[in-house]
Each structure stands twice: as structure tokens, then as C-alpha cells.
Assembly symmetry: C2
Homo-oligomer: 344 residues x 2
């Protein structure tokens, strides 16, 4: 009998590990391969960063509440975020879309308006792609290319024991934005005459529908002479993403709950929405597109000029595991509960 193993038994990261475990690189120019925010390719002494994302309607986005222009913007930004997470500067993208005949030319124009807005905002060029039809739904594939000075790229696997763990901006807002949109969608489907009121939730919904990538943080690093020892962007949630750094650097970590940056709007909305715990939103929500990175302790002072970066913990030996020190004085293990599209 033929064997059938359900993909869901591995999850996304398990599947990637399984499918890529036997890769043997053949080109000397392939500096860094599968397993980071982006790959790094050597081009005659300078280095190119490349990353790609596939977004599927109904899995990654819901067109009931996602304006196509925002979707175009976000499709670009999430890839640029991966390039910045390598400490690189994005320069080009390619964009492929597959669409069903449900979509008109005007709809495509709206989508591309967002794509070009993101290209302009971040100074990248759309240089190629593919446009085709789908039997169902809207499918988007973006590949982003960037540049980095030789060996200045920052991996996930190079954090050192004692390094400080830092994060930009605030976390959990996008998850709450999504929660609000899902709630309003449900109300709308039940009672189409009720008009949603998003006035007080603009920040949260904006973080979900039209996120920005932290170009400014990478520019700050260059000015301040900081090269993080490891870095990742927060796309799956703080828990999941710090665990990537821990696993790949073969270390553990301590995070302090009270240090995790959570905005005032996020806190208020979390309590309003069935008393969600804001810390849980930050840990497990994802889609924040903030930068999570580690620096050597003695570089601490270099961060001072940037009030938008918080130190939230430090790296420890692997035996000490990844632990969260709660406000109540407890120590709990950090587990990955981020968005995992392949787990049912």
C-alpha cells in the first residue's frame, strides 16, 4: 500500500525542513540558502539578497475587507521586510499574479497602484513577473532582491550567549486589527445593513492591511555603526520568531513580559475584545513586520538615540530553554503558536 503522510502532521516549518534537508549547493556564489529571511548570493565580490513569498486568496488575505490597493502595497512590503531583516537594502522586485475572470482590469489597476506606491515609498523597481489566469481566486508571488556589502548580511543563526534581544516598534496591533476585521465581517454577513465603525481602530486595522517595513531601522544601524549579531522580521509572532533565532543559533533566551512593547491602542482594544491578553497578541499574533534582533551587550549605548527600539531580554545557553518572565513573577516556556498555514 502506498504511504500517505498528511502535510499537516509536519506544519510549514517541518515541511520546509523535510524538503530541503538534502540540498547540496553547487555554485560558490550561493552564500546562504534556505532557512533565513532571504538567501544571499555572491556576485563577483558583492552580495545579493533574494527572498520570495506566495500569497493566496482565502489563505493569506480576505478580499471582503482588504482593499486591493492595500493588498498590492502589503504584498511588496512583506518581502521588503525580509530583505531588511538581512540588514540589506532592497532594490528590485518581480511580481507574478494569477487571477480568475472575477477580476476586472479596474481591479488589477487598483492592486498595481498599491504595488507601485510601495515601490516608490521604498525606492525599489518592479523589473519583471508573470501574469496568468487562475481557476479560482487571486494568487500573488513576489520576489525581492537587495544588496548588502560583503559579509554585512545578518543571519538568524549567529546570536551569541549574553546578547541583548531587541525589537522595533510595537507588537500585537496587526493581530487585533485582523480580529476586528473578522468580527465585522461576521456581523456584515449576518446583517448587511449594519455599517462598521472603525474610527477608533484605524491604527490597528492599518497595521494589518497596510503595514510598513522598517527601512528606517536598517538606516539607523548604518548611521550608528551597529551590526546586529542576528535578526529576523516579526511575521509569525514574537514567540515563533525568537524561537527561530534560538533554534538556529543553538541557544535559549529570557524575555521579560513587561518589556514587550505594546501600544496603547492595542492594550485598549485587547481588553475591549472579549478580554484578550495583549501579551498573547504580541507573542502569537504575527504580521507586525517589526525587526527582532540581537546585539552584543557592549553595544547597548549605541541604541540610545533610537527611542523606537526596546530591549526585551537576552540570549542564554540552550539548556536554559526559551523562557518568558511574566509580570506576575512566573517563568513560562515560550512556544511557537504563530500563524501556521499548513497546520489545521
Amino acid at each position: 500500500m502506498e504511504q500517505r503522510t498528511e502535510i499537516s502532521s509536519l506544519g510549514e516549518f517541518g515541511l520546509i525542513d523535510h524538503l530541503t534537508k538534502n540540498i547540496e549547493l553547487q555554485n560558490a556564489s550561493s552564500i546562504l540558502s534556505v532557512g533565513d529571511d532571504a538567501a544571499v548570493i555572491d556576485h563577483f565580490g558583492r552580495q545579493t539578497v533574494i527572498t520570495t513569498d506566495l500569497l493566496v486568496e482565502g489563505v493569506h488575505f480576505d478580499l471582503i475587507y482588504t482593499p486591493l490597493k492595500h493588498l498590492g502595497y502589503k504584498s511588496v512590503v512583506v518581502n521588503l521586510s525580509d530583505v531588511y531583516a538581512m540588514n540589506a537594502i532592497p532594490t528590485q522586485i518581480t511580481l507574478s499574479v494569477a487571477i480568475s475572470n472575477r477580476f476586472s482590469l479596474e481591479a488589477m489597476d487598483e492592486f498595481y497602484e498599491g504595488v507601485y506606491a510601495a515601490c516608490n515609498a521604498y525606492g525599489v523597481d518592479l523589473v519583471g513577473g508573470d501574469t496568468t489566469s487562475s481557476q479560482k481566486g487571486f494568487i500573488i508571488s513576489v520576489t525581492a532582491i537587495g544588496e548588502v556589502a560583503p559579509d554585512k548580511f545578518v543571519k538568524r543563526s549567529t546570536a551569541q550567549k549574553g546578547d541583548l534581544i531587541c525589537v522595533s516598534g510595537d507588537l500585537g496591533a496587526a493581530f487585533l486589527g485582523l480580529t476586528i476585521l473578522e468580527r465585522e465581517k461576521k456581523i456584515f454577513l449576518e446583517s448587511p445593513e449594519v455599517k462598521p465603525d472603525f474610527e477608533n481602530e484605524k491604527y490597528l486595522i492599518g497595521r494589518m492591511l497596510r503595514p510598513e517595513a522598517r527601512k528606517d531601522v536598517i538606516e539607523f544601524f548604518a548611521e550608528a555603526g551597529i551590526i546586529p549579531t542576528s535578526m529576523i522580521d516579526v511575521s509569525d509572532g514574537l514567540s515563533s520568531d525568537i524561537l527561530h533565532i534560538c533554534k538556529q543559533s543553538q541557544l535559549g533566551c529570557v524575555l521579560y513580559e513587561e518589556k514587550i512593547p505594546i501600544g496603547e491602542e492595542t492594550r485598549k482594544a485587547a481588553f475591549r475584545l472579549n478580554e484578550l491578553d495583549p501579551t498573547m497578541c504580541a507573542l502569537n499574533g504575527g504580521e507586525d513586520y517589526e525587526l527582532l534582533f540581537t546585539i552584543k551587550q557592549d553595544e547597548y549605548e549605541k541604541l540610545t538615540p533610537n527611542s523606537d527600539i526596546r530591549i526585551i531580554g537576552y540570549m542564554v545557553d540552550a539548556e536554559e530553554k526559551a523562557m518568558l518572565h511574566t509580570k506576575g513573577g512566573n517563568k513560562v516556556a515560550i512556544t511557537a503558536q504563530g500563524w501556521n498555514h499548513l497546520k489545521s
Copy 2:
């Protein structure tokens, strides 16, 4: 009232023109953008070629008769073919897949076996990608990256009047392979007990399901000191692809029907299958992944050592249009009737 323009009124190429007509490049490193087989990026004096394709189940492939291993192989090869069509050498790919829960881990292993087989055969590295779920069907996005010595890349837009039009290999076989597979699928759906016999059609079906890219031709160019004046790979069909060169080079062309290379198996099968015209299969079939290129007339002799390249015509002024001189002595206009996924 909101305007609604059907995408099908533009077709794929019309849609791409429409969506990309206002691109203004921002990076000096963006040497060549949308509108060729691949984009070219300058990296500190050397040049990188990048191309991407999105393949959707039910639109680009039918899993009823496509073994997953072949699909993996072909997904890579069609992108490498675009890199070769720039006179460049592919070095890396990224691969993203979206799958529904219909697919098991074993199915994914088979697909990736084909992907890695192609990577090995062509000496490229899989360096990244994305693995996610789809609501329906199998979606594949491949981006290929290659290298080319500065300004040695070959565009579609640079053919000159009088240049010879050449093509590698033979044409029309993949289209007949597809026709045979579609016919057997129909028989199978009506009478599942009938076993298909592909013994005499291995070549044609192989050309469809597991094509190769013409790495050898690019290597021959390097050895023979040939730089084509323009080049494209034959993916949409000879008609459609020579028209790309004509349009982008602002020229016309003369093709001789008797010179179009068509294999013996292709001829026989064409007549067997409801008396299809083999020339029409070559002109409009597509998916041959041969290289179609132009060279200066005085480089004619350099081609002699390669018996797998045929001269099929020459470039003329735009006013003379793109014409086929038939075996019967007629002159007919060449029109694009290639595969056009967006036209219904």
C-alpha cells in the same frame, strides 16, 4: 456606475503592457526591466539576470497525466530556459509552492525529486522559497537567477534588418504530446478500463511533460564566439515568439515554411491525429523551449559546426510585416495564436 473592463479583452500581453506602461526605474542597477525573457540587474559592474513564472494547476498543468516528478523538473526548466534566452547562465532558483490538503508528503517528495533533478542537471542551487497552503489545487512559483558578463545579455529588441533568424532543435512536438495526452484523458474518463498505449509517442509526450532547456546552445555560442543580435525562447509558439522579436525590434520578418524544423515523429503524429498540419503545430503550439534568435549575416559560417540549429528566415523592414512563405509558394501574414491563458 463603476467601469468594468474584462481582462480577456486585453489578453496576457495586453494586460502586462497596460499594468507596466508607467514604470519609472529608480535604481541605476535596474538595467533591463519588464518586457523580455528576464530582467537584468547590475551588481557592481557584473550583471544578474532574473525571471519568474507562476504555474497554476488546471491552467498550466493537469495532474491527471502529469507525474509530479516531471512537473517539478519542468517547473525549474521553463525558468532556466528564460535565463538562457538572455544568453546568461542560471545559478540559483527560489521555489514557492501552495498546496491543498489533497497532497500528501509523499506527493511533495516526488515533486521535489524532480526539482532537485533539474537543479543537478543544470548546475543551479535552490536557495529559498515559501511553502504554504491553498484552498484548491497546486500552485508553483519559480524565480531563476543567472549571471552574464557585462553587456553580453541578449534582448528581444535588438534584431537588425537583414539578420538571419535561427532556431534550435525541432518545433511542434510538445503541442502534439499535449494533444495525445488530452485525447487519452478523454478516453480514460469515458472508459477507465482502456489502458493508453504511448509506446510510439514517447518523444512527443516527453517533450511536453519533461522538456529540457538549451544550455548546450548557450555554451556553443560562447565557444563559437557568437552573440545573437536578439533572442527569445519558444514558449508561446514560433508565431507568437517571432512577433515579439519583430515588435520589440520594430522590424518585420520572412520565415520559410520548408525551413521550419519539424521532427519525423511530429510529422507522423500530426497526420495520424485528425490530419493536423505539422507547420501549424510548430507555429502555434508552443512549449518547445527551443531558442529562437537572430545573428548578423556575416556570422553565418560560425553556425556550421552545430547541426542542431536551423536558419528559417531573416529580418526585414517593419513595413514588410511578418510573413510566412509557404511550401506552396504563397505569402501569408504571421499572427500570434500561441497559448494565451488570459484569452477565453
